[in-house]
Amino acid sequence: MAVFPEGPLVGAIPERRKMRREKSGARHVLAVLMVVLSLLLLLIGCDGRNGADLPVLGQVDRDFLFHDQDNQPVTPALFAGKVYVTDFFFTSCPSICPIMKRQMVRVYEAFRNDPEVLLLSHSIDPEHDTVEVLRNYADGLGIETDKWHLVTGDQEQIFAMAKHYMLAAMKHDEAPGGYLHSGSFVLVDNQGRIRGYYDGTDTKEVDQLIDDLTSLLRHPR
């Protein structure tokens, strides 16, 4: 910047005009920089929905004790501070479960290397789906237990958890497989708050789940 040893007012008017032009020029550059910076922040910031914008649909705070495919006890403690996706299924289900599992595998692969994300699938037919059956099924899927727990346990407790997550699960003679249950995937944040329900048989909804989960990880609040 030009220095006027005699003070800013000294000097010919053209010089002052020049200085004013320089100042406003600098201001323009600054303004442009600000706009560019904000645009950049907007772009590299959250794409899709902001994690904080996801609705809070409920609080998960029921105690449970189930066992997973490795016969490890599974309790709420395992999910404390983690973001997780949960659903209800049974291995001999002929209709929606296979489709749900295909979709859950997509979620598994998307967050495979992120230790902050866990998956929890409950069997609603624990009489058939013993730890051994779940172990076998997990082997077939090729999944790691500590990332994706397939659990079995007391049937009433499992139905109670479904109710707690506000999903339907019940025995029904007319239903294919003998059970009626919701095909929803439930997204729970690291404070145990339900942030979304997604149709686990619908690719687009699972796409949205993956997006929302990503947003939650970036903006935990």
């Binding site: 291995t91 002929p94 595998v105 077939g140 899927l141």
Partner: protein
């Protein structure tokens, strides 16, 4: 527009493949409703949980075993395309014999070698 499409599709076509495809349509509907969720829309299977159906011996050499498998399921270790599967296929008692017949014809046509006659009642008697 729809009317035109209907008219066009009603035009008799001497193409044998197309005639066969039209015949297989009810079988395809049964497949999509009852089998595709696990075995996939294109019979591709899924990981090592649901075996692929493409070139399955159940549609060729072991066709006589197929009705029992469809109605009563299958469990225990089997090797399909060099991959070992050991899951439980649930039986399906909602398919009538008629449904099964159209389904099996579809399966043969899509993934079998040649169309063999299906002796449904006789083969169902051998189920354990």
């Amino acid at each position: 527009m729809l009317g035109l499409a209907v008219l066009l599709s009603a035009v008799p076509n001497a193409d044998a493949a197309e005639a066969a495809a039209v015949e297989a349509a009810p079988g395809q509907a049964v497949y999509i409703a009852h089998c595709a969720p696990c075995h996939g829309g294109n019979g591709e299977g899924f990981r090592r949980v649901y075996p692929p159906l493409v070139d399955s011996r159940f549609f060729t050499t072991d066709l006589n075993r197929l009705p029992c498998v469809i109605r009563y399921g299958l469990q225990g270790e089997i090797t399909v395309g060099g991959v070992v599967f050991n899951q439980q296929m649930p039986g399906n008692n909602r398919l009538t014999n008629e449904d099964m017949l159209v389904l099996i014809n579809y399966l043969q046509q899509r993934w079998g070698a040649q169309e063999q006659p299906v002796h449904l009642e006789k083969w169902l008697k051998t189920c354990r």
